[in-house]
Amino acid sequence: MGQIKLNQVSKSFGTVEVIPPLDLTIENGEFVVFVGPSGCGKSTLLRLIAGLEDVTSGHVMIDGVDATSIPPAKRGLAMVFQSYALYPHMSVRKNIAFPLRMAGLDKAEQDRRVRQAAEVLNLTDYLDRRPGQLSGGQRQRVAIGRAIVREPKAFLFDEPLSNLDAALRVGMRLEISELHKRLKTTMIYVTHDQVEAMTMADKIVVLQAGVIEQVGSPLELYQRPRNTFVAGFIGSPKMNLIGGAEAEKHGAATIGIRPEHIDINEKDGLWQGTVGVSEHLGSDTFFHIQCGVSPEPITVRATGEKAFEYGAKVHLTPRPEHLHRFDAKGLRIA
């Protein structure tokens, strides 16, 4: 089991309210990602769930039990920290066994669980090394190992991949997803990287300034962003947001169109523009096009073969069925 429910939970540091009261339910076995720009309160929210910070008001319920005043160790949650937080003076084996030792398990049981976790995480050969002798990816796996041996109700990940290089990050992302599929335990994962959120989550919680902007599956967020913030935050490259006269034509304050939903050709189209920088990724090409309809260049995603000269005149046509409309407050118009 591992259902976590936040009832009107808020957090203030002194007079600064970091998180205004919010409600959120995380179902058992879900992989939930908290995503948002840095300073949006996502890590604080995670630490409130962990019990590392006191809530200012409201209640944290774990499996229907009010855990608000239960100390972190007794909540049955395990956490993987951004810096991995491995104990530098202990071997990998001792690191992974530490929570079991604290729980007073007997030596044989500790050994059995550590060996099991090491096997799952490919750490068997490294058990007698110190964290300082491991690579970033290996340290990350030790931190995860330390979390899984406890067989917690839920795993909490605080930006666990941000200290890894790009290639490793992709690998670890898959490993963590794989782990979730196998363990089927609730996981709460904090990141500022929307790609991680999109690829891993069952449910994404988009936060800004401590406020939940939208909760939904990755596709829901992609297809029906509730406001301009979510629209701009989810998806890469970013959605083109256009205001002014062009938006008014559609009866909105702002319209949004994703780069992949714009057709581009040299002959005719709705908007006329000049090709700026092109980014060729092989599979795709991104064109940045200066258009009359918006002061910002419009990003267009095309297939890899497409090529235009710098400065070439082109025509763009947004696909009307993919047009997003937002009102003056930035909220989606249904």
Partner: protein, 276 residues
Amino acid sequence: MARAVTPRRKALNTFAAWLIGLIIFFPILWIFVLSFKTEGNAILPPLDVLRAPWTFESYGIVQDRSDYFKHFGNSVILAFGSTLLGLIIAVPAAWAMAFVPGKRTKDILMWMLSTKMLPAVGVLYPIYLMFIKLGLLDSRIGLVIVLMLINLPIIVWMLYTYFREIPGEILEAARMDGATLREEILYVLTPMALPGMASTVLLNVILAWNEAFWTLNLTAAKAAPLTAFIASYSSPEGLFYAKLSAASVMAIAPILIMGWFSQKQLVRGLTFGAVK
């Protein structure tokens, strides 16, 4: 400056640095040489001193005649006693300030630092008077307390900077892993802080060993450490170069060796983290 330099440049640097290093070190080297000569030979011109026969004679005389070991023992008790006592009081304080910082933590640290800047001579008479009234004059326990108090700010500061280098996430991880406060301190914090604590002890033993205001003014015969013992040579016995040299070498050798191990901590401890 990882750039490779030419061998000629490197040789030049080496020569200049060694020359200057040896000049600076020379006075210490010289008393070392003099301590192995006879009294008569020690006052000869330098080249004749070097040519004169070597002998351990002076070391024997210093020990026989002047209770060297009593003073050495006092120095050890004062230096280690005051440091240990300081450590016992400072560890909890530094722990609290580093891991549970409050609004006033910074002010408290700064204020502690300011007590270190109080000129000793400004409070000489009150302390002297209190020592007389409490019967602490020329007692080791009195000096242990005074030396502990004058070094307490440095001990707190050093421990604070070492503790602060321990990432808070590690302690949180321990807490998540189910460690109680006691277990957290015992299994996680202490092993990680041990090197820092050792350095703190080292530097403070050195500072207490060499302290030469209170040890000179608050002791007579019984509790006098090596600083006072050496000062007693100032005249007219000072003319006995060989014995004076032997006594000096014995007084500074242990601390010189400790000092060489504490170079890095010296900067941290004496600049209160203002230079990194």
